[in-house]
């Protein structure tokens, strides 16, 4: 036991001060009353206020002395050496994966993790430091190593859940860089085991303690909601828990309850449901599972029924049936196919040139397919056998759901990506698909589709749709994005500004085109985009919701597997456990007790009343206490 602030012991002077106050006479205002008979039995014990009278021991006095003593000792910050679990430098990592929003622990897994970190921050002693890392889409250093508890607490106040699973590898890398050169460090991970695991076991420079948060895996989620061309709505519900659940699906059309469908789903099974009672003029359909469960993020799904604004697309080609069919799959697309000789520039939302590039300025946005060598914005070289086809970046949204494993290309033009262009699909000989970043957007396929088996693959129409999402104005319309995922809003050609209204009613105005990515997508729901055009207003919507089975499977998982880089030698320094919070709590209890005693028995004395009564002599008439006092 040691006192970290011994100077605060001066506060113990309040103990004799209280005793002194009991000696002082209180100057009381006089009040004339008809009788003292009803006050009489409370009077005697209060006469301790008379100066220099013998101090009478009362319960109130004892409680006040006890409270003052406990508070005084607490101010001196007593602590038990070696009892706290904090090392010299502790890196606390908090998993901000969406599954941490589960409320199976109060207030939520994430809230509980933050509270635990806050508690650790409160136990810091002189010489001890703590750093905070938030594991989101990318690891974020919330607070650099510091011994200031208030800084750590304010940093924890800024911690927010991420829309995607936490990146554990980045977090460990960050923690290693913090702890390198700091002996006696440790890493504490608060997680439910759903952060993205590294491809290989992470190597850590300090011992890692995994504290699992969460208690249940019971969760039912809406995995998918789509609408067929016939108008039926398809819903897939998955029970990730073990117990059978009897649920109801509430269908709401534009916010109004349209139908309630019961559903019984066994544990670890998936159930498909088709619903065909969609009201005719519905703009937004919502499906909600009731009653809810511990993880609410996946209990509701939205579907934008309203048709997106139509876009005019012209395909300039001699003959390309594959591309025509792929383009016609997209609703709201007004496709015009012209021969190269018949092409005339006009107002189109997208121009696709297949084997042809017009003279002069190229209209934008444009998709160039196998342009003649030397023409176009990106000069192409000679055609070569490109070799095996590879994705440029597997996480590129343009390759979402696109498999390139079975794709073969006979020949493609060589090209060197210019500045501002990125490679989406590449091969050994060079890029196969390039896109121009920024506004306006362009894309370039360096090979003739007829010289590859790509149009015969399922990946082709998906790739075309992804390219249209990227190139067409809008692109986000009616689309579903994960919570926290930035949404790129491609402006209409003459748009002045855009207002994005979230599910909570908050509206964000985006600057004139090109718009910066819209990042306030943490809340699931339907987001409305109003673009102000010179010809009027254009309304479109997109949806943010969680449709990720790996996140919906909320059962707390095991801790990540790590390998120690450098095992620290010798015993680790341990912190001092402060006990002043307990003393303050005890003092509060004592003071409340004293207050209650004051209210109910204000003059409760420890001295029996009988001892203050003069005992009658033998042979005399016994007198009562009141008569003796008179």
């Amino acid at each position: 036991m040691q006192f970290l602030l011994p100077g605060a012991g001066l506060a113990l002077l309040t103990v004799p001060a209280i005793v002194l106050l009991y000696f002082l006479k209180v100057r009381r205002p006089e009040v004339r009353v008809s009788t003292l008979m009803f006050w009489r039995r409370f009077v005697a014990d209060r006469q301790a206020n008379a100066p220099w009278q013998r101090l009478r021991l009362s319960l109130l006095l004892l409680l006040q002395l006890l409270g003052a003593f406990v508070l005084g000792v607490g101010l001196m910050r007593p602590g038990v050496v070696g009892a706290a679990g904090i090392d010299a430098t502790t890196v606390v990592m908090i998993d901000a994966s969406p599954s941490m929003a589960a409320t199976d622990v109060s207030p939520s897994r994430f809230g509980a993790a933050v509270e635990k970190a806050r508690s650790l921050a409160g136990q810091l002693q002189p010489g001890q430091e703590m750093a905070l890392i938030l594991l989101g889409d990318h690891a974020q250093l919330l607070a650099a190593p510091t011994g200031d508890s208030s800084l750590l607490r304010s940093a924890l106040d800024r911690a927010r859940l991420s829309g995607t699973a936490g990146d554990f590898a980045e977090g460990i890398s960050l923690a290693n860089s913090i702890l390198s050169g700091r002996p006696g460090g440790s890493i504490i991970l608060f997680s439910d085991g759903h952060s993205r695991p590294p491809s290989s076991p992470a190597r850590v420079v300090a011992p890692l303690t995994y504290q699992s948060i969460g208690s249940t895996g019971e969760n039912v989620a809406i995995e998918t909601m789509t609408r067929s061309s016939s108008g039926s709505v398809f819903l897939r519900v998955t029970n990730y828990g073990r117990t059978t659940r009897d649920l109801k699906i509430e269908w709401r059309a534009d916010g109004r309850l349209a139908d309630v469908v019961p559903i019984k789903i066994d544990g670890n099974t998936t159930s498909d449901l088709t619903w065909s009672r969609l009201p005719a003029t519905t703009q937004v359909l919502e499906a909600k599972l009731t009653p809810g469960d511990a993880f609410a993020l996946d209990d509701t799904a939205w579907l934008v029924i309203a048709e997106p604004p139509h876009h005019s697309v012209v395909l300039v080609t001699a003959e390309n049936g594959f591309m025509q069919k792929a383009l016609k799959l997209r609703p709201g697309l007004d496709l015009t196919t012209v021969k190269p000789a018949d092409y005339k520039p006009g107002r189109y939302d997208l121009v696709i040139f297949d084997g042809f590039v017009p003279a002069g300025k190229l209209p934008e946005p444009a998709l160039l397919i196998n342009p003649p060598p030397g023409d176009g914005p990106v000069p192409l070289g000679a055609a070569v056998d490109p070799g095996s086809v590879l994705p440029g970046d597997v996480r590129d949204p343009l390759l979402s759901h696109v498999s390139l494993k079975e794709v073969h290309i006979q020949s493609a033009a060589t090209v060197k990506p210019p500045t501002g262009w990125r490679t989406v699909i590449s091969a050994a000989a060079g890029p196969l698909l390039l896109v121009k970043e920024g506004e306006p957007r362009d894309a370039l396929l360096t090979f003739d589709l007829h010289h590859s088996d790509l149009p015969l693959q399922a990946a082709f129409p998906i790739l075309v749709q992804n390219l249209l999402d990227y190139l067409l104005p809008g692109g986000f319309e009616n689309q579903v994005f994960a919570p926290g995922q930035p949404v790129t809003l491609i402006a209409e050609p003459d748009a002045r500004w855009a207002d994005v209204t979230g599910p909570d009613g908050h509206t964000t105005r985006l600057a004139p085109a090109p718009y910066p990515p819209f990042t306030a997508t943490a809340r699931p729901g339907v987001y409305t985009v109003r673009q102000q055009l010179s010809s009027g207003e254009r309304l479109s919507r997109f949806v943010v919701q969680l449709q990720n089975p790996s996140i919906s499977r909320i059962a707390p998982g095991a801790g990540p597997f790590v390998q120690p880089l450098d095992r620290p030698a010798g015993p680790l320094p341990r912190g001092t456990l402060e006990i002043w919070p307990y003393l303050v709590a005890a003092a509060i209890v004592v003071l409340v007790l004293e207050w209650l005693v004051y209210l109910t028995h204000p003059t409760r004395s420890l001295i029996p009343r009988r001892s203050r009564v003069t005992q009658p002599r033998q042979g005399t008439i016994p007198q009562r206490a009141g008569e003796v006092r008179r």
């Binding site: 205002p29 006089e30 004339r32 008809s34 009788t35 008979m37 006050w39 009489r40 009077v43």
Partner: protein, 286 residues
Amino acid sequence: MLTAGELTLLGRLDLAYRRPQSGLYAGERRSPRSARSPEFSDFRPYVAGDDFRQIDWPAYARLEKLMLRLYVAEEEACLNVVLDTSGSMVMGEPSKWQTARRLAAALSFMGLAALDRVQVGALGGARLPPMRGRDGVSRIWTFLEGLEPAGEAGPAELRLLLWARPGITVVISDFLVEEDGNWAPPIAGLAARRQEPVLWQVLAPEEEHPSIAGDLKLVDVETERTRELTITPGLVADYQRALTAHRAELARAAQSAGGRFLNSSSADDLEAMMLAGLRAGLVRRA
């Protein structure tokens, strides 16, 4: 002392005696004795010496027996009003003294209006000789206006009251005395003197629900004794419990002596006090 409206109110009311009253003179109260009056009481067989005029001849025709008709005698009753004039009666807002004095005046008026024998006096102080008839109203009121509350008065003074005739003794007081005042023996003494005791307690609102708080020095207005207290809500609650117990003790003492206990607030008007009398059976509608 009383307004015209209040006198009109009192004119519609009358004192209710529990037992038939036997007085010196004829009056309006039912007497235990038989006499000539419009109200039939009973029959009894004729005996030699009875007045022939009281024989019920129709009864003789039916029964062939001589029967006498008896009638209820109506005589005066005795009403004794005792007013507490101790110093504590000046307390309260409005003052208990004003209320108690008006109550004494009202009861006296009702007794005199019913041809009762009314005697008014102060507890431990001066007393008027018995009055009868409405002529006594002005004398009694003048006597009451001349009284001033001062000094101490308690149960001991009640023992000193001696009444010549049986009747009702109404004690109007706050019944607040300094320490260990026991009202039961003197009240029982009233019953022994053939009096029906009626204890009418008048307290100020402040005394029923004290609003004082904090560190105070309480001074007894009669004895000048002081007590230093820290008044808390708990202490006030204990005060009210003690007051309730005190009232229950007074009621018990009155009932065991065949009497009644009433209480009023000094904030009550005369109508409210008469309603309290109606509830307690001391007053009835004429």
